[in-house]
Symmetry: C2
Subunit: 201 residues, 2 copies
């Protein structure tokens, strides 16, 4: 393989990501991609085989980048509530970022046709996050900070609670909430998660 080949491949993926995300997958033609980044359609086919092959590379690269965002600060001496709140904030901010929204729309649109793509996306995205949260909660349960009978179920609850209606809304085109709003919401969500709403009568 020529050394320029790798550069070229990355350039194509970069441009394809931009166009797929801005316009949608089926709304973007390969001619359009070539037009922007130069080169020949034949070359593109020799790299990726078909349009779907290119999409898989795009999703692969994008999930790679995002996946490294979440890091639990298990060592820090901040309180459980603070740790969860910060975590929730990072989560919410990532979910409500333009690239994730764009990617999610594409995955949903292709979900009916392409189960494999979905599986690929889930394993590299949401499920990784889910597992990390689940482990974190278990460690906190061992420290007797929380009551945890079913880690999987509780993690799912917390994820849903943290998302609230924000993710649904932004996916459907509502304005992305400000960082302050997401932080405020995260604080409240964690409070609910830990304490609940029932009156202590």
């Amino acid at each position: 393989m020529r050394p320029s080949t790798l550069k070229k491949q990355q350039k194509i993926i970069e441009v394809a990501t931009k166009l797929f995300f801005e316009q949608g997958y089926s709304e973007t033609s390969l001619d359009q991609i070539i037009e922007v980044c130069g080169g020949s359609k034949q070359t593109l086919y020799s790299y990726f085989g078909c349009k779907r092959g290119l999409l898989i590379q795009v999703i692969s690269c994008c999930t790679e980048e995002v996946g490294n965002v979440f890091q639990f600060d298990t060592d820090s001496d901040s309180s459980l509530s603070e740790q969860l709140t910060l975590f929730g904030y990072d989560y919410l901010r990532a979910l409500c970022s333009q690239p994730i929204i764009d990617m999610y729309r594409i995955i949903v649109a292709e979900a009916r046709r392409d189960k494999e793509l979905v599986e690929f996306f889930l394993s590299r995205g949401p499920h990784r996050f889910y597992n990390r949260l689940s482990e974190f909660l278990q460690s906190k349960a061992q420290q007797r900070k929380i009551v945890l009978e079913d880690p999987a179920l509780t993690s799912a609850q917390l994820m849903g609670l943290l998302r609230g209606n924000y993710f649904q809304d932004v996916v459907l085109g509502m304005d992305i909430p400000s960082d302050e709003e997401m932080m405020r919401y995260s604080v409240q969500a964690v409070r609910c998660f830990l304490q609940g709403y029932e009156t202590k009568a």
Copy 2:
């Protein structure tokens, strides 16, 4: 307008709903619809103007049907926990039903192009539900059953909590959970909402 016209329109909407939901909107051609329900393409255009016009009618009819599912049993003498659980179960079951999943996928796929369609869908679907839940919680707060500083925020929390990861998952093609599983989850979600997870130390 001829009496048969209305029948014909409904028949077209019915067939279009089926095909749009099964195959996707942009994957379904108008010729295909005509082929199934008979008649002429010209007639279809005279009724709905264009393909998007037909889609709007489809969404309109479908949201109409679904919107009438949720009813709060405000009169019943069951406990708050029971009422919320039942409500959550109905909500989850509706969200994870095939028609809603299919419709949601279409809306997401069209969201980038068609803000108006999204607005239409939101106002007739999720927002109606959201408002009803918010009112219910407020009535319970007046009865001193729960602490409620911010009804809007708290409703969003509860909705997210009730959805957990189920809705995301089924939209991406995972198997629809059984009624028993959804009921179990709803019970736990409401428990979390009311009591939280923190250890009472």
